[in-house]
Amino acid sequence: MSNLIEKQRSILDFTLSSLMRRKAKNISLFLVYSLVVFVLGSAMFFTQAMKREASLILKEAPEMVIQRLLCGRYEPVPLDYLERIKNIRGVISADYRLWGYYYDPAAGSNYTLMVPRNNPPARGKIVIGNGIARNRMLYREDILSFRGYNGINHNFEVDDILSSESELVSADLMLISEEDFRDFFGLSPAAATDIVATVRNQKELITIANKISELLPDTRPVIRDEMIRTYDSVFDWRGGILIVLISMAMLSFVIFAWEKASGLSAEERREIGILKAIGWETSDVIAVKTYEGAIISFFSFCTGLLLAYGHVFFTSAFLFAPALKGWSVIYPDFRITPYIDPYQVVVLFLLTVVPYTAATVVPSWRSAIIDPDSVMRL
């Protein structure tokens, strides 16, 4: 047993000196490898953290939202639906919501306009998200002018700016009074954007949704779990696009690694021949090459992962944010809460370390099985 440990120790010693001998090759491998892990790791951490962030926010979302459809498209809901929904057994409360989108040509951005249920701003006043304030350089008491549905300009005085804590959802948000909302969009006083409902028993959510669909066939009840799933798939899709692009980088890396790691130089082949001639076994030579691959892989993986962690959670993924956050041109500016999914880290490890180590070992094995007498003819 102690022989085996001494042997592995000696082989490891030789491996380290081998790595030091080929500094330029190994450093370039380390840098490219770390870069690939960094890019993949950043996409992974970012997507996961965003999904988690969105699901945390959605926990506060209403249990059920009821929308009206016309020709399969969204349509404002008549307010008389509200009473009919309230009368369904199991529904504790129901309320209407007023919200919509506005495209601001001056900033080239889409905003979300909303009437808050509690403490709405006074008429003529507006509360804006941090992103809008930043984008249009607005402060309290500044005047914002928007063109309404009928072409008439509406002026709003900035009453407050939303805090940055909730910026993921509030960057492009504007809060106004109900009267201003209806005037601005030309929405009838007898209609609302949608209806939100709460139920007594969570297990009955689907049953109640079905009852609403039967009672009001032109409506579509959306329950919170469905919203969470939609958000998940949206972020998965965004992450997926990035991962497709990154896969190309990954493929280039594999080719690079194969070329660098597998293309044993004449010098390396000669060394393998010498080692075999002086009594090293094929397995000893493979052990050296495996250790070499594993050491480079491991350190590059750790470095790439640490850099990705810093990039995503300390700099809020400044390199990827425009591609992955929101769909508006107003990008939220907030610190992502660190969250790591161990399963994904393991997958990333297997996708990088294993192929690289294999790329190192296979050609070494092919060189190591040659007859040692070839070294006599060098």
């Binding site: 022989n3 001494e6 001998r21």
Partner: protein, 243 residues
Amino acid sequence: MIRLLDVRKGFNLAKPNEYIAVSGVTLTIEANRVTVFKGPSGSGKTTLLSLIGCMTRPTSGRIELMDNLPLINGILRDNGETNRLEVTSLPERFLTEIRRRLFGFIFQQFNLIKGITVLENIMLPSYPLGRKHGFVTERAHALIDTFGLGARASAKVEWLSGGEAQRVAIARALMNDPPVIIADEPTAHLDSKLSVEFMEIISGLKNQGKTIIIASHDPLVFEAGMIDRIINVRDGMLYGSGT
């Protein structure tokens, strides 16, 4: 004693470039003697050394080892042998073990590993044996002192002169204290003075009881006083005192 029985070695068999390097060699090499294979380039000397040193297998024929067998007790036991071992049919791992324990090789080009120190190069053959690091270092330093390389122990081998590199190669061959030393054209890259020095070292090894087998066409080697036997090789066959 090492015995070769009708040994033949061919390369690229059944191909247009087929080449027979050793043809029907029968030979006995006595222990504790210095034997020299003498012959021109391409005569088959190096192939003979490779066959004797278990670096390659013959195409046909048998090679038997009869001395120092306790060093490879495990292999003997596995093969049910006691006083001799036929090596040509052994699997690669056994050949490696025999090479490691019984033979020390000195190559024509020295074949030292560049980028690592003299000390590390000398220690290399002992790594697969799993000996204690302290013991290995001590033995390597003793060899370094024996060959007057003390000041160069931590120098990289590419910085050495031809004579120094040759001595490192000899020290490496002796690292596992093998009973047989095989040297292929050991003086090919040395001037006359260094060649004489090399032969003095060989003389010392002979006095220690080592079996020395050298392939050379250098008169300084085969005319040296300590040579016990010269075997002429030409076209893969032995002439003169071949058997």
